[in-house]
Structure formats: C-alpha cells, structure tokens
C-alpha cells in the first residue's frame, strides 16, 4: 500500500509545496522540518527547472533563485536523505519530465525509492504519456500522481481509474499562483472522480488563505498550497522556517 494514503488519515490533509534550494538547501531543510512539525500531512518538494511552463511568476522566481545558487538534483537527493533521518510524513517530488528523463528515469526513480520519496508529480506528463515513467515507478513503488483539471471533461473516468497515491485536482485554468476567487465547480469535479476511485483527492492552484483552504478541504480530502508558501520564503529568506511553520499551523487548523 502507498505510504501517501497515510497523509489522508489525520483528517483533511494539508499539503505545502516548497521549491528546493530557495533561497538555499539548508533553509529548505529547515522549512520542511517546520512544516512537518506544524501539521503538514504530506510535503511536495519542487525540484527546480529552468523553464517551468506550468508555474506562475511566484514559483518561477523560486525556480530561478534555486538554480542560480547551484541547486542540483543530486544535492536535493542528499538533502532528502538528511530529512528522512527523522521526518516520516510522506513526501513527493514535483518537477518537470525533462529533469527525470535527463537524469535517467530508472536511476532517478530508484533513488527516490532509496531516499524515501513516495511519489512524483510531473505537470507536463499527461495520461497519454505516462508510460514514459509509469512502469519504472511501479517497479520502485513510487506513485505517479495524476492531475485532473477543470478542462478534463470526458477524461475524468479514465484518469481516476488508474490513479494512485492521490489525485491532484487543479482548481482553475492557468498556471500556479494565488487567486482571490476560485470559480470552478469543484464539487461536481470531485464527485465525478469519487465515482471512479477511492484514491484521495487534494485541490491545488490558487489557494492562499485559511478560508480558501477550509473551503477546498471541505470539497476534497486535502488542500495543496504552493505560491503562498513560496511567497513567505521569498519574503523571509533564510529566516523563513518559523514563518512557514506558523502558516502551516494556521492552515491545518483551518481545515481540521
């Protein structure tokens, strides 16, 4: 059984996203610990990519800062090993197909298994192309996370039936970033997913406030927050662990 499931056994799941290496990997490690200690149920670790086509300006900025200071996939693997000495909550990598492909998919995914990464989110790998990595993910027990978007009409059944770990419900059109309002009919979307699978659903894209998180977690099994976390790290830099911890605490309380 996927370890990711355990993230959804403690009430509604709160899932923060953190870009590894922004502003440096020492800070990322502290931020991950602070998030875990303050109630994060699962952590999405972003491996920076030079051209993150699914990201809005906030996470693009984090990617550029991380790469500019020399963050690499290998250094991130080392950081995860350190974190795994005492942090047990599920963790997944969020990155782009080329980061995995160019490293050597089998090498990359087998290392995920060794260092305790439970899943992989690749926003540029739709259902039609998942065979690129799925057989290897299965071999090494790493869940390949499926995404469902507001524009997925006619595809929800197909995607949900083969989903594993959790399903990432994209709340809105466009790229990542905070939004004042989320207008998609997510209740209907989630209920269609649930007709086809027991895999938990978490909603992401555009969530930044406890009120939004509460609303989204009410509809699904969890809420994913990226840009709002990254903004805190952008603001407080090396001193951001405490602030991210407080933010995670407030979000987890709001959805509980």
């Amino acid at each position: 059984m996927s370890k990711i499931k355990s993230a959804f056994e403690n009430g509604k799941a709160f899932i923060p996203f953190i870009t590894c290496g922004d502003p440096d990997l020492e800070t990322t490690e502290k931020v991950v610990r602070a998030a875990a200690e303050n109630g994060a149920d699962l952590i999405e670790l972003g491996i920076p990519f030079s051209d993150p086509t699914a990201e809005g300006p906030v996470i693009q900025g984090a990617n550029m800062r991380a790469l500019a200071n020399g963050t690499t996939t290998d250094k991130i693997f080392d950081m995860v090993k350190n974190i795994r000495r005492d942090i047990n909550i599920p963790m997944v990598f969020m990155t782009y197909a080329n980061v995995v492909f160019s490293y050597g998919a089998e090498r990359f995914i087998s290392i995920c298994n060794q260092i305790g990464i439970d899943g992989l989110i690749l926003p540029d790998l739709p259902f039609e192309e998942k065979d690129e990595f799925l057989p290897i993910c299965r071999k090494y027990d790493v869940d390949l996370i499926s995404l469902i978007a507001p524009t997925s009409a006619g595809r929800i059944e197909m995607i949900s039936r083969e989903a594993e770990g959790f399903i990432y419900i994209v709340s809105s059109l466009g790229v990542t970033g905070t939004r004042s309002e989320i207008s998609t009919d997510l209740e209907t979307l989630v209920s269609m997913v649930r007709q086809n699978t027991d895999v938990p659903c978490a909603i992401g894209f555009g969530i930044s406030t406890p009120e939004q998180a509460k609303k989204m977690a009410g509809i699904a099994d969890g809420a994913i927050v990226g840009s709002a976390v990254v903004k805190i790290i952008e603001e407080y830099g090396r001193a951001s662990a405490k602030h991210v911890g407080e933010f995670v605490k407030s979000m987890k309380q709001a959805i509980s």
Binding site: F101, E129, L173
Partner: protein, 396 residues
C-alpha cells in the same frame, strides 16, 4: 510519417499539462476533419495564391552559380511571400482552421518577429483578436517587427522571464493558453510543440517542397541533388524537405545556428550539441545541462535562437535521411552580404545560414549538380542589426 500519438521515431508526443489535453485533442480532430475538406482546401489555396502571393518563385541564381563555379544554384523565394517569409503559409492554414473551430482569438510566440507579423496579419484579415509573445531581448533586436505587429492590430507582450528570447516566448504563450482556452487558438509557428502541431505546421509548410519539385522538374527535367534550408524549430526546412524525403537521391541539409561556434556555449545548434530530452510538449533534441536544465542558447538570429528542434527533424537525423550542419554568426553575416551584393537579394539572417552552407559546398560539386536553397525570409528586418555587427550604428 507519424503514428496516432504523433511520434516521429522516438520523438514527438504530447508532454503538456492536463489542462490543455482536451484543447489539443479538439485541435487534432478538427485538423483531421478539415485537412480533407474540399471547401477548407479551396479557401486556403485561394488565400495562399491571392493573398500571400503563391506559388513563390524558384529563381536561378546565375551570378552566384558562376561566381562559386560549381553546382547550379536555385533559390526558392519564400522571402517574396506577403509578410516577407514562409511563416504566412502556416499561419493562414492555422488561422482558417481556428476560425472553423469557432475561435476568435489567436496567440503566438515569435523570435525574429516573422511569425508574429504573419499571425497579426492573418488575425487582421480574419477579424480575430491577436496577442503575440516576444522575448524582451528580441523586441529590442527586432524593433521594426514589433511596430509592424502593433500596426496590424496585435498586442505585443514582451517576455522578461528566463533568457527573454524565443524559448521563453513559447513558454509564456503556453501559459497564456492554459489560462484562456475556450476562445483562443495557439498558433504555433514552428514544427515543434505537442502533437498535432509538428504535423499541422509541416503539412501547411509542405507547399514549399511541392512547388519546388514541380518547378525544378519543369526547369531542369530532374530532381535537385541537394535542398538546403535553415533550422531553428525547423518549419521552413521541413516544408522544403517534405516532398523530397522519399527521393533518396536528394540530399537534405538543415543549417543550424552555431552562434559563436559549436565548441562554445554561445550556440543554438541543437542537433550538433544537444541531447535527447522532453520539453515544450515534445521529445526531441535539446541544448541542456547534465541535470536537464535547458541551456541559454545564443545566435545572432532571433529566429534560430531556440534550444530545441522539431521532432521530425530529430528523426530525420536519427535515420540519416537529413544532415544537420552548424553555421556560425560570422558565416551567416558574410552570406547575408554576399547574396545582397551578388544577386541583389537581401535574405533574412536566418536564411543566410542556409546560403552560407551553399557557399561552402557549391564549389566542391560538379557543374551539372543542382542545389536548391530556401530563402525563408527577406532581410530588411535585419539590416540595422547586421550594420551594428559590422560596427555601423544605424538609427531605425
């Protein structure tokens, strides 16, 4: 050439966000329908002939041939098309397709501005809204084209992310498409991106080789020995090659922008220096580092300044059917000046890369051999920049 998932050998595919999948499937279905639709093809042919000025001329470059003293050189004059480049061939096709699909807005990326100008032109003609994404650095290199696009009624968005060049313009156009899909068609300008774009753009550009083949058979009674075209993403090259692919005797040569040389980091010669990767919706060759980070490429030519190459070219390279050669900035600039002086034709700096390679190989070939060079665009847009390259400051 491509299977249902849009593969060319191992290359191609559809590596895009889930948000865009239905839009891409809708586009594929619409294209499959209209490509065989008589009315669609009549309308497109009429636009190409009467509006764009096709067929383009196949011109015998007699002075150049004599000067180089080897193979006979013909120029396929895509520079004479309306808007000044081959880009209009694809844009008229896609804009008409988008219109049939009920779309009212076109978005596009542009490097040198040729595709942006062509898209803005088609949007004006067909009463569609138009937004063009252009790297900020390119808006400065190609200020005249920015003005042309605005004159044609388009909004031009300078892209400041990444290296602020063509790849970032593509990324930003893709981001915009995920924001607004219902009324918007992404009019991709090259044979790249997710399936079905490499096939659609190839088919609309294949008019180049269809005409070339008929024209050379009429003039010479035989096929050429080599067809030479410049390659960024590769749309004019695939258009120039396509109908010659089955003719094994015709050498197909793509000229990549080597920038300051393929032994430097300041290059955009993807096939010569890149490796297999997945980016911008496709599997193909990309300039990248060992961790898969896309490299900041460089070329004097904004239109070839792209870190990838279309998947069909990647496959033609793999199977040895086409050859991809690097051409440096300096060689291209010399060819730009050469064609201007010898034939009175100012080629786009992109096309000058193809001319440069012809200048190298023509003298080594017998006089009964025939080379066709595709002059993909005209060079007016490049004059100020080439002048600067030569140390002359021109105020546009």
């Amino acid at each position: 050439m491509s299977n249902p998932k849009g593969r060319f050998g191992i290359h191609g595919g559809q590596y895009i966000p889930e948000t865009l999948m239905n839009a891409i499937i809708e586009l594929e279905q619409a294209y499959e329908h209209y490509k065989n639709d008589g009315e669609f093809n009549r309308e497109l042919t009429q636009l190409l002939d009467e509006y764009a000025g096709r067929p383009s001329r196949l011109y015998y470059a007699e002075k150049m041939t004599k000067d180089l003293g080897g193979a006979k050189i013909y120029l396929k004059r895509e520079d004479l098309n309306h808007t000044g480049s081959h880009k209009i061939n694809n844009v008229l096709g896609q804009a008409l397709l988008a219109k049939k699909m009920g779309k009212t807005r076109l978005i596009a990326e542009t490097g040198a501005g040729q595709h942006g100008v062509a898209t803005a032109t088609a949007a004006a003609l067909m009463n569609m809204e138009c937004v063009i994404f252009m790297g900020k650095e390119d808006t400065e290199r190609q200020a005249l084209n920015v003005y042309r696009m605005k004159l044609l009624g388009a909004d031009v968005v300078p892209v400041t992310t990444g290296t602020a060049t063509l790849k970032d313009a593509v990324s930003e156009a893709m981001r915009e498409w995920t924001k607004r899909i219902d009324d918007t068609h992404y009019c991709l300008g090259s044979v790249m991106g997710p399936h079905p774009f490499p096939t659609i753009v190839r088919d609309f550009q294949a008019v180049i080789s269809r005409e070339t083949k008929a024209q050379i058979l009429e003039r010479e009674g035989r096929l050429p020995d080599a067809v030479i075209a410049c390659v960024g993403g590769g749309s004019n090259a695939i258009g120039s090659f396509y109908h010659f692919i089955p003719d094994e005797s015709v050498k197909l040569i793509g000229c990549e922008a080597a920038g300051r040389g393929i032994d430097t980091f300041e290059t955009a010669a993807t096939v010569n220096t890149g490796k297999l990767g997945i980016f911008h919706g496709m599997k193909s060759y990309f300039c990248q580092d060992k961790y898969g980070q896309i490299a900041p490429v460089y070329s004097i030519s904004a239109g070839l300044d792209y870190p990838g190459v279309g998947p069909e070219h990647a496959n033609l390279h793999d199977i040895g059917r086409a050859e991809y050669v690097p051409v440096t900035d300096e060689e291209a600039v010399c060819a730009f000046e050469y064609l201007s002086k010898v034939e009175g034709i100012i080629p786009a700096i992109e096309s000058a890369h193809a001319v440069a390679h012809a200048i190298k190989i023509a003298p080594t070939m017998d006089k009964d051999k025939i080379i066709v060079i595709t002059v993909s665009g005209r060079g007016d847009k490049d004059c100020a920049q080439i002048a600067r390259y030569r140390g002359v400051d021109i105020h546009e």
